[in-house]
Structure formats: C-alpha cells, structure tokens
C-alpha cells in the first residue's frame, strides 16, 4: 500500500465562531445553501405536526380502546400494550415469563460486561459468556432446580432471537479461530480444506446455507444424529458466521509483523503456545472493530430464520397484528420491533466506532 506515504499534516486551527457566525457557516453560507436550509425547514414544519398528531396526540394507548383502532386516526399503540408479551417472549407459558425475561437480561448484561476492557482475556471472556449462557439456558429450558420444563418449541420472540444470536457467537467464535489458523497453516491439505470451506460459504447467501441445513441434513445423516431443526439451523448459522469471522481474524493475523512470530519461535515456544500467547491476542486487537461490525450484522441477520419457520421476534410481530382486532396496526408493531433492533444495533455500532477511535490514538 502506498497510501501511507503521504504525510498528514496537523489540521488548521479551528476558527472560533459566535452563534451568528455558526448559523452563517452551517445554514446560510451561500444562496444555494440558504435555499436548501429554507426548503428543509419548511418540509420539517410541514411534516412534524402531522407526525406528532399521528404518533402522540391522536394515538390510542390503552388496549381497552381497541375498537378505535380503525387505521384511520392516530397510531394504535394499544397493540403493543396488548401484545408485547407475545412479541418479546413468543408462546412461553404465562406463569413462567419471568424466567424468559431474566434470561434475556442476563445475556444483555453479559454483552455489556464483555465491552469492558478488563474482561478482554481469553479466560474471562469465555467464562463470562459460558456462565451467562448456562444461566440463560437453564432459565429458559427448566427441568432442573425445581423449574418446570419448557421445550424449545414454546420458545419465541426476542428471547429466541437472543438465544440464536448467543449460540451462534459462542459456537462460531472458536470455530472461526480454527478456520483462520487453518487458512494460514503451513500444512497444504489443512490450508486447502479451510480455504475451500471459507470461500464457498462466503459466496452463498445465508438463507441457502440455513435452507441446506434444514433440508439436506435429514437426508444425509442417520436419524439419531439429526437433532432438532432449531439446533441444525444454529449449527449452520454458526458455521456461516465462522467463515466471515475467520477472514476478519486472518486480516488481524496478517497485520502482525513477522518478527513477532520469529521471536516466539526462537524462544522455543510450540505452535499452540505461539498462537495462544503471541499471535491471537495481537490479531484480536487488530481485528476488534470489524469483529464488532460482524456481531452487528449477525444480530440483524438472525431475523432471516423466520423464513425457515422459527418463531423469532419478527414472526411473533407478524402474529401480533395477525388477528382481526389488530389487523390495521402493522405500522405500530413494525416500529416497535424496529426500535428494539435499533437500540441493540445502534449502541453496539457506536461502541465499535468509539473503540476504533480509541485504538487509533498513537497511530496517527
């Protein structure tokens, strides 16, 4: 790369502007600029009252008033009031809902904890996710510690989305490390097999991979090995995730200077200790921003399993407005689900951007 050869100079000092100066610079810096500003503000003034009237002032909030939800007047937020349990937890038994809610909270807490640098050692991060996931699974599945058993067919909504995402991340991460190492291995057969798997999977849409897992596996595996459809799909999804993540880790590995590897070798460290102590910590540091991006993409893509027939949050949202009572309230339901996704995805991607800035300190 030759882009680094242009030296960057420090930026010119920031001009200090007063309020009027700021308005002139940002809103009215020329005639075309002023037209854009005026037209934009006019559109805002035109739309804002309508949106506020629809969303707030004319909206129907209480589920008792569902007769008012004709789709004509204001927004029918009553549908969320009436159906939020279905959207969040699917068909989970009503008396046991606290378990599902607590489980989702656990995973969210684990995700937040793993954003703190103090948790960024392999042992700690593995322990946090292992324990958190075990708590989630025990709470959801039950059948022990006096909790009644709830089979996976009754799981649904946000909790199923979270379950799929967490399982994919936990299975996919170690797999991706193996694939990345395999692709950079000195052993030709291993290198070829990993490259084939990665390149083939990456050129397929996720849906075809999941579809294959749902359809082909019953054909080619003896029946005792097939497992539940949910687990087959999670397995395939994890493999898909691993193939993308492997390329990110490979990028991180390639950015490590060769000297590091040679030094480790000359100190007499074996392959696995070289990988574990020298290469992977640096590779992950290099690959942190794209890794977070990959998590963001994966979380959004969990919604695709609705096509294979799993009852995740989007499917439960479709069911929430699927009855005659709420048939007109589809916009409200989709906005609610979109908001849930937005909160998770936006905060994670902001965090990723923050990390990227933090890591660049000292490099510029």
């Amino acid at each position: 790369m030759s882009a680094d050869t242009t030296t960057s100079l420090p930026p010119p000092p920031v001009e200090r502007l007063g309020l009027i100066g700021w308005i002139r610079a940002r809103l009215l810096s020329g005639w075309s600029d002023s037209i854009v500003t005026v037209v934009g503000l006019a559109m805002l003034m035109y739309l804002l009252p309508d949106v506020a009237e629809w969303g707030i002032f004319d909206a129907i909030w209480d589920k008792q008033d569902k007769a008012l939800c004709t789709g004509e007047g204001g927004a029918c937020w009553a549908v969320i009031h009436a159906r939020f349990r279905l959207i969040l937890f699917g068909l989970f038994p009503y008396e046991e809902l606290w378990r599902s809610a607590l489980g989702v909270t656990t995973i969210v807490v684990v995700a937040i904890l793993s954003c703190i640098p103090a948790f960024w050692t392999p042992r700690r991060i593995a322990a946090t996710w292992g324990i958190g996931f075990a708590i989630f699974y025990i709470l959801m599945r039950g059948g022990m510690f006096g909790l009644s058993e709830v089979t996976t067919e009754q799981w649904g909504g946000l909790s199923l989305t979270v379950f799929i995402f967490a399982s994919v991340a936990i299975i996919g991460m170690p797999l991706s490390i193996l694939l990345a190492l395999g692709r950079r291995s000195e052993l030709p057969v291993i290198r070829l097999l990993s490259s084939l798997a990665i390149d083939f999977t990456r050129s397929m849409p996720l849906l075809t991979i999941l579809f294959t897992a749902a359809l082909i596996v019953p054909f080619v595996l003896p029946s005792w090995l097939q497992g539940d459809k949910l687990y087959r799909i999670i397995g395939a999804f994890a493999f898909f995730f691993a193939c993308y993540q492997a390329e990110i880790i490979r990028g991180g590995l390639q950015a490590i200077p060769n000297g590091q590897f040679d030094a480790a070798k000359s100190m007499g460290l074996g392959y696995w200790r070289r990988v574990w102590l020298i290469l992977l910590p640096q590779a992950f540091r290099n690959a942190l921003p794209p890794t977070i991006n990959q998590f963001v993409i994966t979380f959004k893509e969990t919604s695709i399993v609705i096509i294979i027939g799993l009852f995740e949050i989007l499917a439960s949202a479709n069911a929430a407005y699927g009855t005659a009572d709420w048939a007109n309230a589809y916009v409200e339901v989709y906005i609610f689900v979109a908001l849930i996704y937005f909160v998770f995805v936006f905060s994670l991607s902001r965090y990723g951007a923050f990390l990227e800035r933090r890591m660049r300190v000292g490099h510029d």
């Binding site: 809103l27 854009v36 849906l207 579809f211 080619v220 893509e301 989007l314 989709y334």
Partner: protein, 389 residues
C-alpha cells in the same frame, strides 16, 4: 514412538492425514445415507427431471411461462428474476446512496442531519423487517378505484404500482436494453484501455458519444412505434372498470422487496461514499485550490477521481451482498431463484440436485460481479499504485 510424536514434521503429516480421512469419511457416509434415504422414498436421483413439465404457476415472470413448461425453464426464469431485482436495486441504491453520502458531508446542518438520520435509521434495522414493512404498506394501499395518485401519472394500488412507460413493444425494450449495455461496454473499454491508445485518448468524449448513441436508439424506436405516428409517445395508465390499463405495472411483491433492498443498500452505500470522500487527503484539495481551480473542477477532477479509488473495492462487496440479499424475496412471495428452487423442491422432491443448481447459479452470479468490479478497479487504479492481488 514418543520421539516420533515430538517431530513437528511427522505431526504435520499425521494431522493432514487425519483431516483428509475425516472429511472423506463424512462425505462417503453422507453419500451412502443419502442414497439409502432416496431409495426409501422412491426418488430417482439425476438431472432428468429438468425436462419434466412443472405443473405449477408462478406470479412474476418477464418471459413466457405456462404450467406445461419444463423445470429448466422455470429455473432460468428464477435466475432472470434474481438478476432483474438485483441489478435494478444496485443501480437505484448506488445513485441514492451517492447523493446521501455526499449530503452527509455537507456543511449545511439541515442536509447533514437529514442524511445522518436516514443512514442510521435504515442501516440499523434488519433488511427482512423492512421488507415485511413495505409489503404490509403496499398491500394496504387502496383498491384501484380509490388509488393514491402522484402527479396524475403514478398510481399506488393494492394490486401494484402503475407508472407511465414509453409506448414501444417488448422487443423494442429488449433492443433498448441491449443499447444501454453496449453504451456501458463502450465506457468500460474507454476507461480500461491503457494510456496512449486511441480509444483511451478520447475518453473525455466517450460519455457524450454513449449518451448520443442511446438518445438516437430511443428516438428511432419511438418513431417506429407500433401504433404509428398518431399514437402517444408515452403510455399512461388509466382506470378502466375495476382496474388500470396501460402503463407499466410493478407487482406489489417486487415493489416491496425492491424498496427494502434499495433503502437498506443506499444507507450502506452512503457510508462507503462518505468514507471515500473523507479519505481524500486535504493536501490534494489545497494543492488544487492553490493552482487556481474553481470549486466544481476541484470536485470533478480531484475529489471524485481520488475518492472513487477508495470507494470501488467496498462497493463491489456491497453489490455482492445486495445480490445475495434478493433471496429474502421469498418472505413476501417474490419469485426469485431461491423461491423457485424451494417450490421446485417441494413439488419434485429432487432436493440435492436443485440445491446444487441454485448454489452453482449463486457462485456464477457472485463471480461475475466480482470479476467486473475487479476489472473496473484495475482500470481505475493510478499508474504504479495497483495493489497486487
């Protein structure tokens, strides 16, 4: 034995042998079990089913299709539908994304805020959710008699979108499409040829030559239109009885899935474009300014060419992603390759063969996009700055 295990070379060979045996074992056991299962279900494997008539109908096709047509024909239609959806989404999303990406860099607070809200909203919500949303919106449009109209020419109804079109036949449209492709090829060649060749020296003029060519072809097709000189140039949709006649009908499924992919894709492309412009070193612009260039020439001759070189590689990846994302069309019933494969599997039971065909098609589609994008990238690269692949 112990010393043999300590030998790194031997361990390497052993590991590879184990991996190979493992993979072969899995493959062989797959084949054996699959054959047993197929025999048990009475399915003959092989590709002879491709010549059988399908016996079921599909909702969207630009080519002639009846239920008596064979499987290979319906798969071809699926590939074509995927291409139509994918290419039109890529083109529109690129234009929209470029505009929004540049707007995000504007000094104007209103433009910057509006484009930032757009990007952050649509990028952070799953594509399939947006697909469902637009499909619900489109199917909740009023029936044709009470259609929403935009400027008396575009009609939004629950049966689809009706838009005006040029009053020319299907063959003429095919010719027009071929002309557009030719013009694109001309442009591509002009930029691809090495410096010094005749076609490259005239590359400043090639966009205008291509444009003139397209205008000429369109004019010729319009003059020779079916109804003769008396029929109108533009075919407007109009209400007749319970439905619209004339114009061009966009099916609700296509409209919804295209809206979702275009909006989602343009939010991503906007970020790519913004990143590209931000990567242009300030010194280049200051140098151009100090040479006395005016703002527009600086934009066209310095900023855009330099930004393009950063933009093209991630843009290619985005195109491949958008092409793959057409598969979610099945969620709302758009007949793309994936949905047709899935229906064919249900109807014929030839699971493995059909999945194989679909995967080969996707490999081909993705490979062609990346080949084209790599070609453009090579053609655009500054002399001596090409990255080795």
């Amino acid at each position: 034995m112990n010393s043999l295990l300590q030998n790194e070379k031997f361990r390497g060979h052993a590991l590879q042998a184990i991996a190979l045996v493992l993979v072969l074992g899995v493959v062989i056991s797959f084949v054996v079990t699959a054959q047993a299962n197929l025999a048990a279900r009475g399915i003959t494997s092989g590709f002879s089913f491709l010549d059988r008539a399908t016996g079921w109908d599909i909702s969207f096709s630009v080519l002639e299709y009846t239920i008596n047509d064979p499987y290979w024909w319906v798969i071809l239609i699926g590939v074509l539908n995927t291409f139509i959806l994918g290419i039109s989404c890529i083109v529109i999303a690129t234009v929209l994304g470029t505009v929004i990406g540049i707007a995000r860099l504007s000094r104007n607070l209103v433009l910057e805020t509006a484009s930032t809200v757009y990007v952050e909203t649509f990028r952070n919500v799953p594509l399939i959710l947006q697909g469902f949303f637009w499909y619900a919106v489109v199917t909740h449009f009023p029936p044709p008699r009470r259609a929403h109209e935009i400027a008396d020419s575009v009609f939004l109804t629950s049966r689809g979108l009706y838009v005006p079109t040029l009053n020319i036949s299907g063959e003429a449209f095919a010719m027009l499409f071929a002309a557009i492709m030719l013009a694109a090829l001309l442009l591509f060649l002009a930029y691809r040829q090495p410096f010094g060749t005749a076609i490259h020296r005239h590359r400043e003029k090639t966009p205008w030559i291509a444009l003139a060519f397209l205008v000429a072809v369109t004019a010729l097709l319009l003059i020779s239109r079916e109804g003769g000189a008396d029929s109108p140039v533009i075919d407007m949709p109009y209400l007749k009885g319970l439905n619209f006649r004339g114009g061009f009908r966009v099916s609700p499924e296509f409209a919804a899935i295209a809206a979702a992919i275009v909006i989602f894709g343009s939010a991503y492309i906007a970020e790519i474009v913004r990143g590209g412009f931000l990567s242009v070193p300030n010194g280049q612009i200051e140098a151009a300014r100090s040479l006395g260039l005016k703002p527009w020439p600086i934009y066209w001759k310095v900023r855009i060419p330099l930004a393009l070189r950063t933009i093209i590689p991630p843009l290619g990846n985005q195109y491949v992603f958008l092409m793959k994302s057409t598969t979610i069309g099945i969620a709302i019933g758009y007949n793309d390759l994936f949905m047709i494969t899935s229906t064919s599997i249900n109807q014929s039971g030839q699971t493995i063969e059909l999945l194989f065909i679909m995967m080969m098609c996707f490999l081909f589609i993705n490979y062609s996009i990346s080949t084209v994008m790599n070609g453009i990238n090579r053609a655009m690269a500054l002399k001596g700055h090409e990255t080795k692949t």
